[in-house]
């Protein structure tokens, strides 16, 4: 299989922060807002460089979302920043009416998504955000996998006209996407071709999918690994072409099974090419306090869980 050397280790939120700073220099219509989590969101450099285009909303997320919608009238491109939980469930109605239904060009940027937020526990570990956001008409949903991809995605969404939910995280994770790889919204990336089983992964699970594919290769199983960074709109073609070849699929994500990427994939497949599928995702439970690594293991989101799922799904062909 194709090898992806580790280029370093960094948190995806830093990819957002660095991308935002670059955007600030490139596009003077870009403005940023944060609800008292500037450091956590890595928005400090933008704030420092462009104080007139940075807005501290305080711990008042609903107002921040409404203001962002209003700021688009007159041409600004607002990037809001807070934890994924407070970017979605706390302000769902504000996003629904003032942004999605009103078709406003707001970029909702959400850090600390999923279990890997770690020790703060389940109150902060949102695992339902992708589902909530993808259900909204007009909303584009993106979950990049490493620092480089998050930075590229941050730059790309400024050029996309319409509401976007950009989801990233807190822990330091391997960087393996080449810095110069173009980021195309709605276009999946074929990371490694294979013939026996398709693995479709998003976010932090993409690196684990590559690790799993390597493990499977040692067992004589050829896994195809696809990175779906844009959950909506979904790249249907890359998934359908793959399952026509492999006849089975595993989806992997740091999210509930309900509402996640896996559900989008199964919805596509049942309408087109019914295909055996296994889900590597959280199964209808809240998280808890722990280190990111402990949590990923306990809730079944490790490379070994992807390996096991691949072996299981291959028996169902």
């Amino acid at each position: 299989m194709k090898e992806y050397p580790v280029l370093g280790k960094k948190d995806t939120r830093s990819g957002f922060g660095d991308g935002l700073l670059e955007l600030g220099k490139k596009n003077d219509q870009v403005v940023a807002m944060c609800a008292d989590l500037t450091g956590s969101l890595k928005m400090g450099a933008f704030k420092e460089a462009f104080p007139d285009r940075f807005f501290q909303a305080g711990i008042a997320e609903a107002n921040m979302i409404g203001m962002a919608a209003g700021m688009t009238i007159g041409g600004k491109i607002p990037f809001t920043g807070t934890f994924a939980n407070f970017s979605t469930s706390r302000v769902y109605d504000q996003i629904r009416q003032s942004i999605a239904y009103s078709e406003k060009n707001v970029k909702i940027c959400a850090s600390h998504a999923g279990l890997t937020l770690g020790e703060d526990g389940a109150t902060h570990q949102v695992l339902e955000d992708v589902g909530m956001m993808k259900m909204l008409p007009n909303m584009c949903v993106i979950n990049p996998c490493d620092y480089n991809q998050t930075k590229a995605a941050t730059l790309a969404i400024a050029d996309y006209e319409g509401p976007v939910y950009l989801r990233f995280g807190r822990p330091s994770v391997p960087i393996f996407i080449p810095e110069d790889m173009p980021f195309e919204i709605g276009k999946g990336i074929m990371l490694s071709e294979g013939t026996d089983v398709t693995i479709v992964a998003t976010g932090h699970l993409v690196w684990k999918a590559l690790e799993a594919a390597k493990e499977l290769e040692g067992k004589g199983i050829s896994a195809e690994v696809i990175n779906i960074h844009t959950i909506k709109p979904l790249d249907e073609e890359i998934i359908l072409n793959s399952v026509m070849k492999t006849k089975c699929i595993v989806t992997a994500e740091e999210h509930q099974i309900a509402g996640g990427l896996g559900e989008s994939v199964s919805s596509l497949l049942c309408r087109t090419i019914p295909t055996p599928q296994e889900f590597v995702a959280v199964d209808d439970t809240f998280g808890e306090s722990g280190t990111p690594a402990e949590l990923m293991t306990k809730y079944g989101l490790d490379a070994i869980d992807i390996v096991t799922a691949c072996e299981a799904v291959m028996t169902r062909k």
Binding site: A62, N63, G70, T72, I73, G75, K76, Q97
Partner: protein
């Protein structure tokens, strides 16, 4: 100032439009709509610097209005039509399938004059603040106007926005509360009292004007003009506008019962008998 007699004539026709629109669907919100007629007529015919002939979402160099209590859409639609944003005949499509005149205002079908959806309460002040900030960033001295129901002030987001606007000196914003004292379930004081509303806004750092004659067109024009003189001085401006829910139709006044109820045929005839047809029914 515009001819007051002419504005009163527009107001009478707008009231006829409102009761006819809600009657035609047996649904809609006539009470608050009737109570806010003078505010809308004053705003669109006298106060706003706006371009109704060539609507542009960004509204560069225009004053911009947001209706936060979207349920009083009938009065807004009627005044937008009379101001030239779209044909008056389109008022007949209100709340009908495939209409641009949704029950609550929406942008999806491109209705001229509408810049954001509203209906779920409490969101319009935040939106107004956002656009006010954009006006400043763009170097414009245009003003932002918002309207809110008094019951709507029970929403927490309003107070998040109130705090933000004052703390950040958003002083190109004139918000108005339709202070009619009534909401769906009854009197605001009985449902969830707002207490000392003027004191609350002042404590939040706003410039506050209370106007007791919110259904007198001259008084409304005057208070809006006074509010304009208070902009640009480091504080957002709030007008507490005392109005009468159901104003102009006797049986709809003095009660909360016509907040969201439509008149039947007989009640419509009664209402129209009280409202002069001045500019021709749509």
């Amino acid at each position: 100032m515009a001819d007051i007699a002419q504005l009163k004539s527009v107001s009478s026709q707008v009231r006829r439009d409102i009761v006819r629109m809600v009657h035609a669907n047996s649904s809609g919100h006539p009470g608050g709509s009737l109570g806010c007629v003078e505010y809308f007529v004053a705003l669109y015919f006298e106060i706003l610097n706006h371009n109704s002939a060539d609507f542009d979402m960004d509204g560069f160099d225009e004053d911009i209005f947001f209706l936060s209590n979207g349920h009083i859409s009938p009065v807004w639609y009627s005044v937008l039509a009379h101001s030239g944003y779209f044909e008056k005949a389109e008022l007949a499509t209100f709340r009908k399938l495939n209409s641009r005149l949704q029950g609550h205002p929406a942008t999806e079908e491109g209705l001229e004059g509408i810049r954001i959806a509203s209906g779920s309460l409490g969101q319009g002040l935040s939106v107004g603040i956002g656009t006010a900030i954009t006006k400043k960033l763009n170097g414009e001295d245009s003003l932002i106007y918002t309207l809110h129901g008094d019951g709507e002030l029970q929403e927490g987001q309003i107070w998040e926005a109130a705090m933000y606007a004052a703390a950040n000196k958003v002083d190109n914003l004139i918000a108005t509360v339709d202070y009619n004292g009534r909401q769906i379930d009854g009197d605001v004081d009985d449902v969830l009292s707002l207490g000392d509303l003027e004191g609350k806004w002042k404590a939040f750092g706003w410039e506050v004007i209370t106007e007791d004659n919110g259904n007198d067109i001259e008084s409304v024009i005057n208070v809006l003009n006074k509010a304009k003189t208070l902009t640009g001085k480091g504080k957002p401006v709030m007008i507490l506008l005392r109005t009468e829910m159901g104003q102009g139709v006797d049986y709809m006044m003095g009660t909360h019962k016509w907040h969201g109820s439509a008149p039947n045929d007989e009640q419509l005839a009664n209402a129209l008998g009280q409202l002069e047809e001045t500019l021709g029914d749509y």
